[in-house]
């Protein structure tokens, strides 16, 4: 369904700014558990929906923030295309706006790029209720600061996304998933060694037992690469990656807190107790367990990365990795530049933002 609620949304933000009323921005509510606990009056974006422009040969789609992610994925698929960053939906109600605000990417992330990499433009309402447009619907655009990409992962705290333009790509002609049993250390080494060769790799994970890799591209290329990589072809490869992306894989079951460690890909297995699952060629590592957050953060940081309490645990405490004081001060000034009254999803990212 297509509906334009731009004016009422902007009006609502203006009123909230005037009265200093915090707003909790909601798309489809599929990722309400992500980040710190939402506070404030609910500002619903789901009604502001509809694909505004889609020209398959331009490789660009522009849609309102409330458009269901599933609708976008389906329309692209009808035209043999896809969102290259393969975002997790975490529920049927997921919207485009919520997906970009969370800035999450799927298994193809290290090879195809992130959610933010594919943002070409955005129309937003800033914290003063002004409707602003940045970027556009073209691949190359360096006029002005890249505010639209800044919105990816900002959890709505810099602006309410009204519509987003994304770069899309053709679906690969052929995909093949291969699996091979090995240790975590060997899996990490193999993923990184293969990624340095000219092979059409589009995903690489270690599920605790097996190294699982996906090849994508022209049929001839996929089959000749499969011979080089070795391992056994998985009949239900596509399901494996979907379940991994959506956290429906058995690893993610249960209520134990889920930590996400983002580290340089080649980092050897991290010495912390708990159950691990490794994705993104070693760059994204999941850890389940009731562990001291201090230890987890220290381990991620000493590896050159950072740790997020992705799901579960205390949502009122620090969820994202603490920033050094000078960085936090800068991010706070940036927040004030967009949202001087501090009403847009306050505290969802950090208490200070």
């Amino acid at each position: 369904m297509s509906r334009d609620l731009e004016q009422p949304i902007a009006e609502r933000v203006r009123e909230a700014a005037a009265q200093a009323t915090p707003l909790a921005i909601v798309g489809g509510g599929s990722k309400e558990w992500y980040g710190r606990t939402p506070v404030g009056e609910r500002l619903d974006l789901a009604g502001h929906a509809g694909i505004l422009n889609y020209e398959p040969s331009e490789l660009v789609i522009r849609a309102r923030a409330g458009t269901p992610l599933a609708e976008i994925v389906a329309v692209l698929a009808e035209n043999g295309q896809r969102l290259p960053f393969d975002p997790p939906a975490f529920g049927a109600s997921a919207t485009l706006g919520g997906s970009i605000a969370c800035g999450l990417s799927g298994p193809s992330r290290p090879y195809a790029g992130s959610a933010r990499d594919h943002v070409l433009g955005a129309r937003i309402v800033n914290g003063q209720g002004e409707v602003l447009e940045f970027g556009g619907q073209v691949m190359k655009n360096v006029a002005g600061y890249d505010v639209s990409r800044l919105m990816a992962g900002a959890l709505g705290s810099l602006g309410v996304l009204l519509d987003v333009s994304l770069k899309v790509l053709p679906r690969p002609a052929c995909e093949l998933t291969l699996a091979k049993e090995c240790t975590a250390g060997n899996a990490i080494a193999a993923m990184n060694a293969w990624a340095g060769r000219p092979l059409p790799i589009s995903a690489a994970a270690f599920d605790g037992i097996r190294l699982v890799m996906r090849l994508a591209g022209a049929e001839t290329a996929v089959h000749s690469a499969a011979v080089r990589l070795g391992g056994e072809a998985m009949a239900d490869g596509e399901r494996f990656w979907t379940e991994l992306r959506e956290h429906r894989h058995g690893y993610f079951a249960g209520e134990m807190p889920l930590w996400r460690l983002a580290v340089p890909g080649p980092t050897p297995p991290i010495d912390l107790p708990g159950k691990w699952l490794i994705e993104w060629g070693g760059g994204q590592r999941w850890l389940r367990g009731e562990l001291d957050p201090v230890h987890i953060r220290a381990a991620a940081q000493s590896a050159g990365g950072h740790a997020t309490l992705f799901r579960g645990g205390d949502r009122n405490g620090p969820v994202f990795h603490p920033l050094v004081p000078a960085m936090l001060a800068l991010q706070r000034r940036l927040k004030q530049a967009f949202d001087p009254a501090g009403i847009l999803n306050p505290g969802r990212l950090y208490p200070e933002l």
């Binding site: 002005g144 505010v147 022209a218 940036l334």
Partner: protein
């Protein structure tokens, strides 16, 4: 005290301070020593800075920024000076900060596929250093032999492989940045992402207005097993444009997809003898890369598709030498066009690709109206159009006419749903054209972002984002005369 005297006092104060930080040969302040820094690649705009500083360490950069912050002296950063929009144009009351001496590759990690480099490292030098590991740095602006990575970050530089491999912003992991106050900040990380707001997105392409990049960690990619180029000739530009859409609709993303029009073809052929078909109205160069099998499969497909789209001739480079020759014509298009005329002015608009025929028609109409010839070079894959306007600066009024013509081309790009700059940046050159692309609230937001990083407005002030006041004056002109001008830019 006159303005000149006041400037001299400030210059002396600055130079004294700089000499406490740097050796004497790294501080330039005499007119003849300043001359090489008076302009960047856009030589129509020239100005001498108060002084030039040439630091060779991050600590020196920090000390210089602390000094300038204390003295409230604006700072214009400069990389290799190859920029085409006047982003490194000095300020007569400011310091020009050259990062050219910071030119070490600090670390190259073939397993993590990253290179940590200082800002003065040349773009091509990174790929050369990575070559023994079978890796390369993908963004390849045509100035890659000379341009530096710090400047690439400032401009978010592209190149001919953007559609498939992205811009600078897509190939960066981490930046070390010195703030206007002299603080050192680390943005991004060696991991796939960093906590908090994505300041990498904001810093890349910020044209030196938000911070001084003193170190960059870039992503390296495996060199493709094979690259193959096809050259297709067309007797009609619109048909060539349609063929581009067809290639992409077939699910093929070429590594490079370039179009040249008749004047550009003829100029390039006369210059480098690339073997181009000079009678053609347009040629397409299509580079396909990947594994050996993949390239063979795609070359067959694209060849048939080009013929179906009305190509009068399709050639496949027989060997690496011919592939290099096909590209040599394209890569030397600017200097080749430069031989046709005493001066040329390079534009940099981006448009949705399907609007190309109408925008080219509009450019032809304007060419007649202004009596100035235009050659068109087009990054067809990503919609980035480089019209080259031929003019003679020695003819009174011709530069002004050229600039008006250029501004109207940019407006045509914006009207077609595009942008005034795809990869060269706004700098000084397109500062007024920004008023046509953004309304006051967006510009105010840009200024608020700038203030969050640089509250005193000392970093490259006056570039990239026009003041609302400037646009108000400019906008009024736009309404009254219905044409764009550059009224208050210095002319030389």
């Amino acid at each position: 005290m006159t303005t000149t005297d006041a400037l001299t006092v400030r210059r002396n104060e600055l130079v004294r301070g700089l000499l406490d930080i740097l050796p004497a040969d790294a501080v330039l302040h005499l007119a003849e020593a300043l001359r090489p820094y008076e302009c960047d690649g856009l030589s129509a705009y020239r100005r001498l800075p108060m002084a030039v500083a040439l630091p060779s360490s991050v600590e020196q950069v920090r000390a210089i920024m602390r000094l300038c912050h204390r003295l409230r002296i604006p700072v214009v950063p400069r990389g290799a000076g190859t920029g085409l929009s006047g982003g490194a144009l000095p300020l007569s009351d400011g310091l020009l900060l050259s990062l050219a001496k910071l030119k070490s590759i600090l670390n190259l990690d073939p397993v993590a596929r990253t290179a940590r480099v200082q800002p003065g490292v040349r773009n091509l030098a990174i790929s050369q250093a990575a070559l023994p590991h079978g890796l390369y740095y993908a963004p390849d602006p045509s100035s890659q032999i000379a341009c530096s990575i710090g400047g690439n970050v400032a401009e978010n530089s592209g190149g001919v492989h953007c559609l498939k491999y992205g811009l600078t912003v897509h190939n960066l992991l981490r930046l070390e940045v010195v703030t206007a106050e002299g603080e050192l900040l680390s943005l991004g990380s060696d991991a796939p992402d960093a906590p908090g707001y994505d300041l990498m997105a904001l810093m890349t392409g910020s044209e030196g207005l938000l911070g001084i990049v003193v170190e960059a960690t870039v992503r390296l990619l495996p060199l493709p097993e094979r690259a193959q180029v096809l050259l297709a000739a067309f007797d009609d530009v619109a048909r060539a444009a349609a063929a581009v859409g067809e290639i992409i609709a077939a699910g093929i993303i070429p590594a490079g997809l370039e179009m040249m029009d008749k004047l550009a073809i003829q100029a390039a052929e006369a210059f480098v003898h690339a073997g181009y078909p000079v009678a053609a109205e347009a040629i397409l160069l299509c580079e396909l890369d990947g594994t050996n099998d993949e390239v063979s499969e795609h070359v067959m497909q694209v060849r048939q598709l080009l013929l179906r789209c009305g190509a009068t001739e399709v050639r496949t480079a027989r060997d690496e030498a011919e592939r290099q020759r096909f590209w040599a014509g394209r890569k030397s298009a600017f200097p080749a066009v430069g031989r046709l005329s005493p001066d040329y002015y390079c534009m940099d608009g981006t448009i949705p690709r399907r609007r190309l025929p109408e925008v080219l028609t509009r450019i032809r109409e304007l060419s007649v109206e202004y009596g100035l010839a235009v050659a068109n070079v087009f990054h067809a894959g990503d919609g980035n159009l480089h019209p080259l306007i031929l003019y003679d600066a020695n003819r009174p009024g011709e530069l002004e006419r050229t600039e008006q013509f250029g501004a109207r081309i940019l407006q045509a790009c914006v009207d077609a749903g595009g942008t005034i700059t795809g990869e060269h940046g706004v700098g000084m050159e397109k500062i007024d054209a920004m008023c046509g692309q953004f309304a006051a609230p967006e510009l105010a937001q840009f200024h608020a972002v700038k203030a969050a990083f640089d509250p005193d407005g000392l970093l490259n002030p006056g570039k990239a984002v026009p003041t609302l006041h400037r646009c108000a004056e400019f906008g009024a002109m736009h309404v009254h005369h219905n044409e764009l001008k550059f009224p208050d830019l210095p002319r030389f």
